[in-house]
Protein backbone atom coordinates (compact mmCIF):
# COMPACT_ATOMS: atom_id res chain seq x y z
CA UNK A 1 0.00 0.00 0.00
CA UNK A 2 1.42 3.41 -0.93
CA UNK A 3 2.00 6.13 1.65
CA UNK A 4 -0.61 8.30 -0.06
CA UNK A 5 -3.26 5.58 0.26
CA UNK A 6 -2.40 5.23 3.95
CA UNK A 7 -2.70 9.00 4.23
CA UNK A 8 -6.16 8.99 2.64
CA UNK A 9 -7.29 6.17 4.94
CA UNK A 10 -5.88 8.21 7.83
CA UNK A 11 -7.90 11.30 6.87
CA UNK A 12 -11.05 9.15 6.56
CA UNK A 13 -10.28 7.58 9.95
CA UNK A 14 -9.79 11.03 11.46
CA UNK A 15 -13.23 12.15 10.31
CA UNK A 16 -14.73 8.88 11.56
CA UNK A 17 -13.27 9.61 15.00
CA UNK A 18 -14.72 13.13 14.81
CA UNK A 19 -18.14 11.67 14.01
CA UNK A 20 -17.84 9.27 16.95
CA UNK A 21 -17.08 12.35 19.10
CA UNK A 22 -13.57 11.45 20.13
CA UNK A 23 -11.88 14.64 21.42
CA UNK A 24 -10.22 16.41 18.48
CA UNK A 25 -6.74 16.32 20.06
CA UNK A 26 -6.94 12.58 20.70
CA UNK A 27 -8.40 11.97 17.23
CA UNK A 28 -5.32 13.57 15.66
CA UNK A 29 -2.99 11.75 18.04
CA UNK A 30 -4.57 8.36 17.34
CA UNK A 31 -4.64 8.87 13.57
CA UNK A 32 -1.07 10.17 13.57
CA UNK A 33 0.17 7.30 15.72
CA UNK A 34 -1.55 4.55 13.68
CA UNK A 35 -0.55 6.20 10.40
CA UNK A 36 3.07 6.49 11.52
CA UNK A 37 3.01 2.82 12.56
CA UNK A 38 1.64 1.86 9.13
CA UNK A 39 4.32 3.84 7.26
CA UNK A 40 7.38 3.63 9.50
CA UNK A 41 6.68 0.70 11.82
CA UNK A 42 6.43 0.42 15.62
CA UNK A 43 10.12 1.05 16.23
CA UNK A 44 9.95 4.60 14.91
CA UNK A 45 6.32 5.51 15.61
CA UNK A 46 6.21 4.79 19.35
CA UNK A 47 9.29 6.84 20.31
CA UNK A 48 8.03 9.76 18.21
CA UNK A 49 4.73 9.68 20.15
CA UNK A 50 6.53 10.68 23.35
CA UNK A 51 9.22 12.88 21.81
CA UNK A 52 6.80 14.92 19.66
CA UNK A 53 4.30 15.48 22.46
CA UNK A 54 7.06 16.36 24.92
CA UNK A 55 8.52 18.78 22.38
CA UNK A 56 5.28 20.76 22.14
CA UNK A 57 4.58 20.64 25.90
CA UNK A 58 8.06 22.09 26.49
CA UNK A 59 7.90 24.65 23.66
CA UNK A 60 9.07 27.86 25.34
CA UNK A 61 7.02 30.18 23.11
CA UNK A 62 3.82 28.47 24.25
CA UNK A 63 4.29 29.86 27.77
CA UNK A 64 2.23 32.79 26.47
CA UNK A 65 -0.91 30.63 26.38
CA UNK A 66 -1.34 29.99 30.14
CA UNK A 67 -0.02 33.48 30.93
CA UNK A 68 -2.39 35.42 28.68
CA UNK A 69 -5.28 33.14 29.67
CA UNK A 70 -4.47 33.85 33.32
CA UNK A 71 -4.38 37.58 32.56
CA UNK A 72 -7.78 37.46 30.85
CA UNK A 73 -9.32 35.41 33.64
CA UNK A 74 -8.06 37.76 36.35
CA UNK A 75 -9.39 40.72 34.35
CA UNK A 76 -12.77 39.03 33.83
CA UNK A 77 -13.23 37.83 37.41
CA UNK A 78 -12.21 41.12 38.97
CA UNK A 79 -14.83 43.13 37.09
CA UNK A 80 -12.50 44.89 34.64
CA UNK A 81 -14.80 43.96 31.76
CA UNK A 82 -17.68 45.71 33.49
CA UNK A 83 -15.56 48.81 34.03
CA UNK A 84 -14.71 48.90 30.34
CA UNK A 85 -18.36 48.57 29.42
CA UNK A 86 -19.42 51.27 31.88
CA UNK A 87 -16.86 53.68 30.46
CA UNK A 88 -17.88 53.02 26.86
CA UNK A 89 -21.56 53.20 27.88
CA UNK A 90 -21.09 56.59 29.59
CA UNK A 91 -19.54 58.08 26.46
CA UNK A 92 -21.71 56.64 23.67
CA UNK A 93 -24.75 55.09 25.41
CA UNK A 94 -26.96 58.14 24.77
CA UNK A 95 -26.85 57.86 20.98
CA UNK A 96 -29.08 55.51 18.98
CA UNK A 97 -27.59 52.02 19.13
CA UNK A 98 -25.12 53.42 21.66
CA UNK A 99 -25.34 50.46 24.04
CA UNK A 100 -24.48 48.08 21.22
CA UNK A 101 -21.59 50.31 20.13
CA UNK A 102 -20.41 50.49 23.75
CA UNK A 103 -20.42 46.70 23.84
CA UNK A 104 -18.28 46.56 20.70
CA UNK A 105 -15.80 49.11 22.11
CA UNK A 106 -15.60 47.26 25.43
CA UNK A 107 -15.14 43.94 23.59
CA UNK A 108 -12.25 45.45 21.61
CA UNK A 109 -10.54 46.69 24.79
CA UNK A 110 -11.18 43.46 26.68
CA UNK A 111 -9.88 41.49 23.69
CA UNK A 112 -6.51 43.11 24.26
CA UNK A 113 -6.43 41.49 27.69
CA UNK A 114 -7.58 37.97 27.03
CA UNK A 115 -6.91 36.79 23.44
CA UNK A 116 -9.95 34.54 23.41
CA UNK A 117 -13.17 34.89 21.47
CA UNK A 118 -15.24 32.85 23.92
CA UNK A 119 -13.88 34.64 27.00
CA UNK A 120 -14.67 38.04 25.46
CA UNK A 121 -18.22 36.94 24.58
CA UNK A 122 -18.86 35.48 28.06
CA UNK A 123 -17.47 38.46 29.94
CA UNK A 124 -19.10 41.19 27.88
CA UNK A 125 -22.29 39.21 27.37
CA UNK A 126 -22.92 38.95 31.11
CA UNK A 127 -22.41 42.70 31.49
CA UNK A 128 -23.97 44.11 28.32
CA UNK A 129 -26.94 41.87 27.52
CA UNK A 130 -28.98 42.68 30.67
CA UNK A 131 -28.42 46.41 30.02
CA UNK A 132 -29.46 46.23 26.36
CA UNK A 133 -32.56 44.24 27.25
CA UNK A 134 -33.41 46.74 29.98
CA UNK A 135 -33.40 49.52 27.38
CA UNK A 136 -35.63 47.45 25.06
CA UNK A 137 -32.98 46.72 22.47
CA UNK A 138 -34.01 44.30 19.77
CA UNK A 139 -32.92 40.81 20.92
CA UNK A 140 -31.34 40.07 17.53
CA UNK A 141 -29.17 43.20 17.63
CA UNK A 142 -28.23 42.74 21.30
CA UNK A 143 -27.22 39.08 21.00
CA UNK A 144 -25.63 39.55 17.58
CA UNK A 145 -23.50 42.38 18.96
CA UNK A 146 -22.17 40.30 21.85
CA UNK A 147 -21.51 37.14 19.79
CA UNK A 148 -19.76 39.13 17.06
CA UNK A 149 -17.93 41.46 19.43
CA UNK A 150 -16.44 38.42 21.10
CA UNK A 151 -14.62 37.55 17.88
CA UNK A 152 -12.44 40.62 18.37
CA UNK A 153 -10.74 38.59 21.11
CA UNK A 154 -9.26 36.31 18.47
CA UNK A 155 -8.16 39.18 16.22
CA UNK A 156 -6.47 41.66 18.56
CA UNK A 157 -3.21 40.73 20.25
CA UNK A 158 -2.69 38.64 22.36
CA UNK A 159 -4.80 36.38 20.14
CA UNK A 160 -4.32 32.74 21.16
CA UNK A 161 -5.09 31.78 17.55
CA UNK A 162 -2.22 33.91 16.25
CA UNK A 163 0.13 32.37 18.84
CA UNK A 164 -0.68 28.85 17.68
CA UNK A 165 -0.56 29.86 14.03
CA UNK A 166 2.85 31.45 14.61
CA UNK A 167 4.24 28.33 16.22
CA UNK A 168 2.94 25.96 13.55
CA UNK A 169 4.10 28.16 10.67
CA UNK A 170 7.33 29.28 12.37
CA UNK A 171 6.39 32.96 12.12
CA UNK A 172 7.44 35.45 14.82
CA UNK A 173 4.58 35.87 17.29
CA UNK A 174 5.46 39.54 17.82
CA UNK A 175 5.00 40.20 14.09
CA UNK A 176 1.68 38.38 14.08
CA UNK A 177 0.45 40.30 17.11
CA UNK A 178 1.23 43.62 15.47
CA UNK A 179 -0.32 42.42 12.20
CA UNK A 180 -3.60 41.90 14.07
CA UNK A 181 -3.80 45.44 15.48
CA UNK A 182 -4.95 47.47 12.44
CA UNK A 183 -7.40 44.83 11.16
CA UNK A 184 -8.75 44.60 14.73
CA UNK A 185 -9.30 48.36 14.89
CA UNK A 186 -10.90 48.39 11.41
CA UNK A 187 -13.16 45.49 12.38
CA UNK A 188 -14.22 47.36 15.53
CA UNK A 189 -15.12 50.39 13.39
CA UNK A 190 -16.95 48.19 10.86
CA UNK A 191 -18.96 46.62 13.70
CA UNK A 192 -19.89 50.08 15.03
CA UNK A 193 -20.88 51.11 11.49
CA UNK A 194 -23.00 47.94 11.30
CA UNK A 195 -24.81 48.91 14.50
CA UNK A 196 -25.38 52.40 13.06
CA UNK A 197 -26.79 50.98 9.80
CA UNK A 198 -29.07 48.48 11.60
CA UNK A 199 -30.43 51.13 13.95
CA UNK A 200 -30.87 53.61 11.09
CA UNK A 201 -32.96 51.09 9.15
CA UNK A 202 -34.91 50.04 12.26
CA UNK A 203 -34.88 52.83 14.82
CA UNK A 204 -36.67 50.71 17.41
CA UNK A 205 -33.86 48.12 17.33
CA UNK A 206 -31.52 50.26 19.46
CA UNK A 207 -33.15 53.13 21.35
CA UNK A 208 -30.87 55.70 22.95
CA UNK A 209 -30.00 55.36 26.64
CA UNK A 210 -29.79 58.23 29.16
CA UNK A 211 -27.03 60.81 28.68
CA UNK A 212 -24.30 60.62 31.34
CA UNK A 213 -22.94 63.78 32.92
CA UNK A 214 -19.31 64.74 32.31
CA UNK A 215 -18.53 63.85 35.96
CA UNK A 216 -19.94 60.37 35.44
CA UNK A 217 -18.01 60.01 32.20
CA UNK A 218 -14.71 60.97 33.78
CA UNK A 219 -15.38 58.74 36.79
CA UNK A 220 -16.03 55.65 34.62
CA UNK A 221 -13.04 56.49 32.47
CA UNK A 222 -10.91 56.68 35.60
CA UNK A 223 -12.06 53.23 36.72
CA UNK A 224 -11.26 51.78 33.27
CA UNK A 225 -7.87 53.49 33.06
CA UNK A 226 -6.08 50.68 34.90
CA UNK A 227 -7.13 48.26 32.17
CA UNK A 228 -5.99 50.62 29.45
CA UNK A 229 -2.67 50.84 31.30
CA UNK A 230 -2.34 47.02 31.35
CA UNK A 231 -2.99 46.88 27.60
CA UNK A 232 -0.54 49.71 26.98
CA UNK A 233 2.18 48.04 29.03
CA UNK A 234 1.80 44.59 27.43
CA UNK A 235 1.02 45.29 23.79
CA UNK A 236 2.84 48.64 23.77
CA UNK A 237 5.84 46.88 25.32
CA UNK A 238 5.95 44.43 22.42
CA UNK A 239 5.59 47.22 19.86
CA UNK A 240 8.34 49.30 21.44
CA UNK A 241 10.62 46.27 21.61
CA UNK A 242 10.75 46.34 25.43
CA UNK A 243 9.23 42.87 25.81
CA UNK A 244 9.10 39.65 23.87
CA UNK A 245 5.54 38.26 23.70
CA UNK A 246 6.43 35.80 26.50
CA UNK A 247 7.73 38.55 28.74
CA UNK A 248 4.68 40.67 27.92
CA UNK A 249 2.39 37.79 28.88
CA UNK A 250 4.05 37.20 32.26
CA UNK A 251 4.35 40.90 33.00
CA UNK A 252 0.78 41.55 31.86
CA UNK A 253 -0.59 38.75 34.05
CA UNK A 254 1.29 39.97 37.12
CA UNK A 255 0.29 43.59 36.47
CA UNK A 256 -3.38 42.58 36.08
CA UNK A 257 -3.10 40.55 39.29
CA UNK A 258 -1.64 43.55 41.09
CA UNK A 259 -4.43 45.85 39.84
CA UNK A 260 -7.08 43.31 40.87
CA UNK A 261 -5.51 42.92 44.32
CA UNK A 262 -5.35 46.68 44.82
CA UNK A 263 -9.02 46.92 43.88
CA UNK A 264 -9.77 44.16 46.46
CA UNK A 265 -11.59 42.03 43.90
CA UNK A 266 -9.88 38.70 44.51
CA UNK A 267 -11.29 36.46 47.24
CA UNK A 268 -10.00 32.89 47.71
CA UNK A 269 -12.94 31.28 45.83
CA UNK A 270 -12.43 33.70 42.94
CA UNK A 271 -8.70 32.92 42.86
CA UNK A 272 -9.48 29.19 42.76
CA UNK A 273 -11.91 29.82 39.93
CA UNK A 274 -9.29 31.78 38.02
CA UNK A 275 -6.74 28.99 38.39
CA UNK A 276 -9.19 26.24 37.40
CA UNK A 277 -10.43 28.19 34.39
CA UNK A 278 -6.83 28.81 33.30
CA UNK A 279 -6.03 25.11 33.66
CA UNK A 280 -9.10 24.14 31.61
CA UNK A 281 -8.14 26.39 28.72
CA UNK A 282 -4.51 25.25 28.92
CA UNK A 283 -5.69 21.63 28.73
CA UNK A 284 -7.89 22.38 25.71
CA UNK A 285 -5.12 24.03 23.73
CA UNK A 286 -2.29 21.67 24.62
CA UNK A 287 -4.17 18.40 24.00
CA UNK A 288 -4.99 19.64 20.49
CA UNK A 289 -1.41 20.80 19.94
CA UNK A 290 0.09 17.52 21.18
CA UNK A 291 -2.28 15.60 18.90
CA UNK A 292 -1.32 17.86 15.99
CA UNK A 293 2.38 17.27 16.58
CA UNK A 294 1.81 13.54 16.11
CA UNK A 295 -0.60 14.01 13.19
CA UNK A 296 1.45 16.52 11.16
CA UNK A 297 4.51 14.25 10.63
CA UNK A 298 2.14 11.52 9.44
CA UNK A 299 0.61 13.89 6.89
CA UNK A 300 4.09 14.86 5.69
CA UNK A 301 5.11 11.21 5.35
CA UNK A 302 1.93 10.42 3.42
CA UNK A 303 2.84 13.14 0.88
CA UNK A 304 -0.82 14.22 0.78
CA UNK A 305 -0.05 17.94 1.25
CA UNK A 306 2.27 17.86 -1.79
CA UNK A 307 -0.45 16.19 -3.87
CA UNK A 308 -2.97 18.84 -2.79
CA UNK A 309 -0.47 21.56 -3.76
CA UNK A 310 0.11 20.02 -7.20
CA UNK A 311 -3.64 19.53 -7.67
CA UNK A 312 -4.51 23.13 -6.81
CA UNK A 313 -1.70 24.61 -8.87
CA UNK A 314 -2.73 22.51 -11.89
CA UNK A 315 -5.94 24.56 -12.20
CA UNK A 316 -3.99 27.72 -12.96
CA UNK A 317 -6.37 29.80 -10.85
CA UNK A 318 -3.74 32.26 -9.77
CA UNK A 319 -2.93 33.20 -6.19
CA UNK A 320 -6.22 35.00 -5.56
CA UNK A 321 -8.29 32.12 -6.97
CA UNK A 322 -6.59 29.55 -4.75
CA UNK A 323 -6.81 31.85 -1.74
CA UNK A 324 -10.57 32.17 -2.35
CA UNK A 325 -10.85 28.35 -2.45
CA UNK A 326 -8.93 28.12 0.84
CA UNK A 327 -11.13 30.83 2.39
CA UNK A 328 -14.34 29.06 1.32
CA UNK A 329 -13.02 25.75 2.68
CA UNK A 330 -12.24 27.40 6.03
CA UNK A 331 -15.73 28.90 6.13
CA UNK A 332 -17.29 25.50 5.49
CA UNK A 333 -15.14 23.75 8.11
CA UNK A 334 -15.83 26.50 10.62
CA UNK A 335 -19.51 25.63 10.67
CA UNK A 336 -18.84 22.45 12.64
CA UNK A 337 -15.32 22.68 14.04
CA UNK A 338 -13.82 24.54 16.99
CA UNK A 339 -11.37 27.37 16.23
CA UNK A 340 -8.06 25.92 17.48
CA UNK A 341 -8.65 22.45 16.09
CA UNK A 342 -9.64 23.78 12.69
CA UNK A 343 -6.57 25.98 12.45
CA UNK A 344 -4.22 23.19 13.52
CA UNK A 345 -5.84 20.51 11.40
CA UNK A 346 -5.81 22.47 8.16
CA UNK A 347 -2.36 24.03 8.34
CA UNK A 348 -0.39 20.90 7.32
CA UNK A 349 -2.22 21.00 3.98
CA UNK A 350 -2.69 24.73 3.57
CA UNK A 351 0.85 25.77 4.52
CA UNK A 352 2.65 24.08 1.59
CA UNK A 353 0.09 25.62 -0.79
CA UNK A 354 0.71 29.09 0.63
CA UNK A 355 4.47 28.63 0.46
CA UNK A 356 4.25 27.45 -3.14
CA UNK A 357 2.20 30.54 -4.00
CA UNK A 358 4.62 32.87 -2.18
CA UNK A 359 1.85 34.20 0.10
CA UNK A 360 3.02 36.28 3.07
CA UNK A 361 2.36 33.97 6.02
CA UNK A 362 1.96 36.81 8.53
CA UNK A 363 -0.78 38.33 6.36
CA UNK A 364 -2.47 34.97 5.94
CA UNK A 365 -2.38 34.41 9.73
CA UNK A 366 -4.62 37.45 10.22
CA UNK A 367 -6.92 36.39 7.36
CA UNK A 368 -7.10 32.84 8.76
CA UNK A 369 -8.16 33.88 12.27
CA UNK A 370 -10.80 36.19 10.78
CA UNK A 371 -12.25 33.45 8.59
CA UNK A 372 -12.26 31.02 11.48
CA UNK A 373 -14.21 33.54 13.53
CA UNK A 374 -16.73 33.90 10.72
CA UNK A 375 -17.13 30.14 10.74
CA UNK A 376 -17.68 30.20 14.48
CA UNK A 377 -20.58 32.60 14.05
CA UNK A 378 -22.23 30.44 11.39
CA UNK A 379 -24.93 27.81 11.89
CA UNK A 380 -25.20 25.05 12.96
CA UNK A 381 -22.45 25.11 15.61
CA UNK A 382 -21.33 28.74 16.20
CA UNK A 383 -19.56 28.57 19.58
CA UNK A 384 -20.17 32.24 20.40
CA UNK A 385 -23.84 31.79 19.58
CA UNK A 386 -24.10 29.05 22.20
CA UNK A 387 -22.33 31.26 24.72
CA UNK A 388 -24.85 34.04 24.15
CA UNK A 389 -27.69 31.53 24.27
CA UNK A 390 -26.36 30.39 27.66
CA UNK A 391 -26.61 33.96 28.99
CA UNK A 392 -30.10 34.64 27.57
CA UNK A 393 -31.77 31.20 27.28
CA UNK A 394 -35.16 32.69 26.37
CA UNK A 395 -33.88 34.16 23.07
CA UNK A 396 -34.30 31.62 20.22
CA UNK A 397 -31.19 30.51 18.30
CA UNK A 398 -32.81 31.77 15.11
CA UNK A 399 -32.99 35.29 16.54
CA UNK A 400 -29.32 35.20 17.56
CA UNK A 401 -28.22 34.01 14.11
CA UNK A 402 -30.44 36.69 12.53
CA UNK A 403 -28.66 39.32 14.60
CA UNK A 404 -25.22 38.01 13.63
CA UNK A 405 -25.56 38.23 9.84
CA UNK A 406 -24.91 41.99 9.48
CA UNK A 407 -21.70 41.60 11.52
CA UNK A 408 -20.75 38.51 9.52
CA UNK A 409 -20.89 40.59 6.35
CA UNK A 410 -18.74 43.25 8.04
CA UNK A 411 -16.11 40.57 8.71
CA UNK A 412 -16.38 39.45 5.09
CA UNK A 413 -15.81 43.06 4.00
CA UNK A 414 -12.64 43.21 6.10
CA UNK A 415 -11.33 40.04 4.46
CA UNK A 416 -11.97 41.56 1.03
CA UNK A 417 -10.14 44.71 2.17
CA UNK A 418 -7.23 42.58 3.37
CA UNK A 419 -7.12 40.76 0.03
CA UNK A 420 -7.01 44.08 -1.83
CA UNK A 421 -4.78 45.94 0.66
CA UNK A 422 -2.45 43.44 2.41
CA UNK A 423 -0.65 46.42 3.95
CA UNK A 424 -3.54 46.78 6.40
CA UNK A 425 -2.04 43.77 8.17
CA UNK A 426 1.60 44.16 7.20
CA UNK A 427 2.18 47.86 7.79
CA UNK A 428 2.79 47.73 11.54
CA UNK A 429 5.01 44.61 11.65
CA UNK A 430 7.02 45.80 8.64
CA UNK A 431 7.45 49.24 10.19
CA UNK A 432 8.52 47.84 13.53
CA UNK A 433 10.57 44.80 12.59
CA UNK A 434 11.44 45.46 8.94
CA UNK A 435 10.45 43.13 6.12
Amino acid sequence: MSNTTIGLIGVAGLFLLFVLRMPVGLSMLITGLLGNIAIRGWQHALPSLSSETFAIASFYQLSVIPMFVLMGNIAGASGMGRDLYNAAYAWVGHIRGGLASATIIACACFASLCGSSAASAVTMGRVALPEMRRYKYDDALATGTVASGGTLGFTFPPSAGLVIYGILTEQAIGRLFLAGVLPGIILTLLFIATVFIVTTIRREAGPAGPRATMTERMATLGRASSIVLVVFVTIGGIYLGLFTPIEASGFGASFTLLVALLRRKLSLPVMKAIVLQTMRTTATVFLILMGAYVFIPFMTLSELPEIVVRFLLSFDLGTTGILIIIILTYLALGTFMEDFSMLILTLPVVLPVLKALGVDLVWFGVVAVLIIQMGLLSPPVGINVFIVKGIVPDVPMYTIFRGIWPFWYAMGLLIVLLLIFPQLALFLPNTMFGR
Binding site: P23, V24, L46, S58, Y60, S78, L242, S254, A273, T282
Partner: protein, 180 residues
Amino acid sequence: MLAVVDRLTRAVALWCGGVLIFVLMGIIVVDVTGRYVFNSPLYGSLDLSITFLVLIVASSIAYGGRTGAHVTADIFKTLLGPRFEWLNGIFVKLFAAIITAIWCWRLIVTGRTAARLGESTLLLNIPFEPIYFALGIGIGLYSLVLFTEAFVLARTGEVPLLSDESRIVMEQSPPSESRQ
Protein backbone atom coordinates in the same frame (compact mmCIF):
# COMPACT_ATOMS: atom_id res chain seq x y z
CA MET B 1 -15.06 5.81 42.38
CA LEU B 2 -15.73 8.79 40.10
CA ALA B 3 -15.74 11.05 43.17
CA VAL B 4 -12.22 9.93 44.09
CA VAL B 5 -11.00 10.61 40.52
CA ASP B 6 -12.74 14.00 40.59
CA ARG B 7 -11.09 15.00 43.87
CA LEU B 8 -7.71 13.90 42.56
CA THR B 9 -7.88 15.68 39.19
CA ARG B 10 -9.26 18.86 40.77
CA ALA B 11 -6.59 18.88 43.47
CA VAL B 12 -3.80 18.37 40.92
CA ALA B 13 -5.13 21.15 38.68
CA LEU B 14 -5.86 23.58 41.49
CA TRP B 15 -2.89 23.14 43.79
CA CYS B 16 -0.10 21.83 41.55
CA GLY B 17 -1.20 23.81 38.49
CA GLY B 18 -2.11 26.89 40.54
CA VAL B 19 1.24 27.09 42.31
CA LEU B 20 3.17 26.34 39.12
CA ILE B 21 1.40 28.95 37.02
CA PHE B 22 2.10 31.72 39.52
CA VAL B 23 5.72 30.54 39.85
CA LEU B 24 6.07 30.70 36.05
CA MET B 25 4.64 34.20 36.13
CA GLY B 26 7.11 35.11 38.89
CA ILE B 27 10.07 33.74 36.90
CA ILE B 28 9.16 35.91 33.90
CA VAL B 29 8.70 39.02 36.07
CA VAL B 30 12.00 38.48 37.94
CA ASP B 31 13.78 37.89 34.62
CA VAL B 32 12.42 41.07 33.01
CA THR B 33 12.89 43.18 36.14
CA GLY B 34 16.42 41.84 36.59
CA ARG B 35 17.30 42.69 33.03
CA TYR B 36 15.96 46.25 33.05
CA VAL B 37 16.58 47.32 36.65
CA PHE B 38 19.74 45.41 37.61
CA ASN B 39 21.10 44.67 34.14
CA SER B 40 21.18 41.04 35.21
CA PRO B 41 18.46 38.71 33.88
CA LEU B 42 17.58 35.59 35.85
CA TYR B 43 20.14 32.92 35.05
CA GLY B 44 18.48 29.85 33.52
CA SER B 45 15.03 31.46 33.25
CA LEU B 46 14.48 29.66 29.94
CA ASP B 47 15.20 26.27 31.54
CA LEU B 48 12.88 27.03 34.44
CA SER B 49 10.10 28.27 32.14
CA ILE B 50 10.26 25.13 29.99
CA THR B 51 10.19 22.89 33.05
CA PHE B 52 7.26 24.69 34.63
CA LEU B 53 5.34 24.80 31.36
CA VAL B 54 5.50 20.99 31.05
CA LEU B 55 4.41 20.61 34.67
CA ILE B 56 1.47 22.99 34.13
CA VAL B 57 0.37 21.04 31.04
CA ALA B 58 0.71 17.77 32.96
CA SER B 59 -1.46 19.15 35.80
CA SER B 60 -4.18 20.36 33.46
CA ILE B 61 -4.97 17.53 31.01
CA ALA B 62 -6.96 15.22 33.32
CA TYR B 63 -8.97 18.09 34.84
CA GLY B 64 -9.74 19.28 31.31
CA GLY B 65 -10.98 15.77 30.51
CA ARG B 66 -13.30 15.61 33.53
CA THR B 67 -14.78 19.07 32.98
CA GLY B 68 -15.40 18.56 29.25
CA ALA B 69 -12.73 21.01 28.11
CA HIS B 70 -11.38 18.72 25.39
CA VAL B 71 -13.37 19.78 22.36
CA THR B 72 -15.20 17.41 20.06
CA ALA B 73 -16.49 18.08 16.55
CA ASP B 74 -20.23 17.68 17.00
CA ILE B 75 -21.05 16.77 13.42
CA PHE B 76 -23.89 14.28 13.66
CA LYS B 77 -24.76 14.67 17.31
CA THR B 78 -28.49 14.93 16.82
CA LEU B 79 -28.73 11.99 14.41
CA LEU B 80 -27.60 9.37 16.91
CA GLY B 81 -30.11 7.56 19.09
CA PRO B 82 -29.65 7.11 22.87
CA ARG B 83 -28.65 3.42 22.60
CA PHE B 84 -25.98 4.19 20.00
CA GLU B 85 -24.85 7.19 22.08
CA TRP B 86 -24.33 4.90 25.08
CA LEU B 87 -22.41 2.22 23.18
CA ASN B 88 -20.41 4.83 21.29
CA GLY B 89 -19.57 6.64 24.51
CA ILE B 90 -18.20 3.46 26.10
CA PHE B 91 -16.21 2.57 22.97
CA VAL B 92 -14.72 6.05 22.56
CA LYS B 93 -13.73 6.35 26.21
CA LEU B 94 -12.20 2.86 26.33
CA PHE B 95 -10.30 3.38 23.08
CA ALA B 96 -9.05 6.77 24.28
CA ALA B 97 -8.10 5.27 27.65
CA ILE B 98 -5.99 2.56 25.99
CA ILE B 99 -4.24 5.04 23.70
CA THR B 100 -3.50 7.45 26.56
CA ALA B 101 -2.19 4.51 28.65
CA ILE B 102 0.23 3.67 25.79
CA TRP B 103 1.15 7.34 25.55
CA CYS B 104 1.86 7.45 29.30
CA TRP B 105 4.01 4.31 29.05
CA ARG B 106 6.01 5.75 26.17
CA LEU B 107 6.67 8.98 28.06
CA ILE B 108 8.04 6.97 31.01
CA VAL B 109 10.20 4.86 28.66
CA THR B 110 11.55 7.96 26.90
CA GLY B 111 12.21 9.56 30.28
CA ARG B 112 14.37 6.57 31.26
CA THR B 113 16.19 6.80 27.93
CA ALA B 114 16.81 10.51 28.55
CA ALA B 115 18.29 9.62 31.94
CA ARG B 116 20.54 6.97 30.40
CA LEU B 117 21.78 9.47 27.82
CA GLY B 118 22.22 12.15 30.48
CA GLU B 119 19.86 14.61 28.74
CA SER B 120 19.18 17.82 30.61
CA THR B 121 18.35 21.48 30.08
CA LEU B 122 21.11 23.69 28.71
CA LEU B 123 21.98 26.11 31.51
CA LEU B 124 20.75 24.68 34.78
CA ASN B 125 21.25 21.02 33.81
CA ILE B 126 17.78 20.08 35.03
CA PRO B 127 17.49 16.39 34.04
CA PHE B 128 14.74 15.62 31.52
CA GLU B 129 13.81 12.30 33.14
CA PRO B 130 11.56 13.70 35.92
CA ILE B 131 9.98 16.17 33.47
CA TYR B 132 9.09 13.31 31.12
CA PHE B 133 7.78 11.38 34.12
CA ALA B 134 5.62 14.31 35.20
CA LEU B 135 4.03 14.56 31.75
CA GLY B 136 3.61 10.78 31.75
CA ILE B 137 1.83 10.91 35.11
CA GLY B 138 -0.43 13.72 33.84
CA ILE B 139 -1.38 11.66 30.77
CA GLY B 140 -1.73 8.55 32.98
CA LEU B 141 -4.17 10.44 35.17
CA TYR B 142 -6.18 11.34 32.07
CA SER B 143 -6.17 7.67 31.12
CA LEU B 144 -7.51 6.82 34.58
CA VAL B 145 -10.25 9.43 34.09
CA LEU B 146 -11.25 7.85 30.77
CA PHE B 147 -11.23 4.27 32.14
CA THR B 148 -13.35 5.36 35.12
CA GLU B 149 -15.79 7.26 32.92
CA ALA B 150 -16.14 4.23 30.61
CA PHE B 151 -16.83 1.99 33.61
CA VAL B 152 -19.38 4.36 35.14
CA LEU B 153 -21.06 4.89 31.77
CA ALA B 154 -21.33 1.13 31.17
CA ARG B 155 -22.76 0.52 34.65
CA THR B 156 -25.13 3.44 35.16
CA GLY B 157 -25.86 4.60 31.61
CA GLU B 158 -24.55 8.11 32.18
CA VAL B 159 -21.40 9.84 33.33
CA PRO B 160 -21.82 13.34 34.73
CA LEU B 161 -19.00 15.80 34.05
CA LEU B 162 -17.16 17.29 36.99
CA SER B 163 -18.98 20.56 37.64
CA ASP B 164 -17.00 23.39 36.10
CA GLU B 165 -16.94 25.43 39.29
CA SER B 166 -14.63 27.96 37.73
CA ARG B 167 -17.45 29.11 35.48
CA ILE B 168 -19.94 29.20 38.35
CA VAL B 169 -17.67 31.26 40.58
CA MET B 170 -16.63 33.55 37.72
CA GLU B 171 -20.28 34.33 37.12
CA GLN B 172 -20.78 35.08 40.80
CA SER B 173 -17.68 37.24 41.08
CA PRO B 174 -18.51 40.61 42.58
CA PRO B 175 -19.11 43.20 39.87
CA SER B 176 -17.60 46.61 40.26
CA GLU B 177 -19.94 49.50 40.90
CA SER B 178 -22.46 49.80 38.12
CA ARG B 179 -23.02 53.22 36.65
CA GLN B 180 -26.74 52.87 37.00
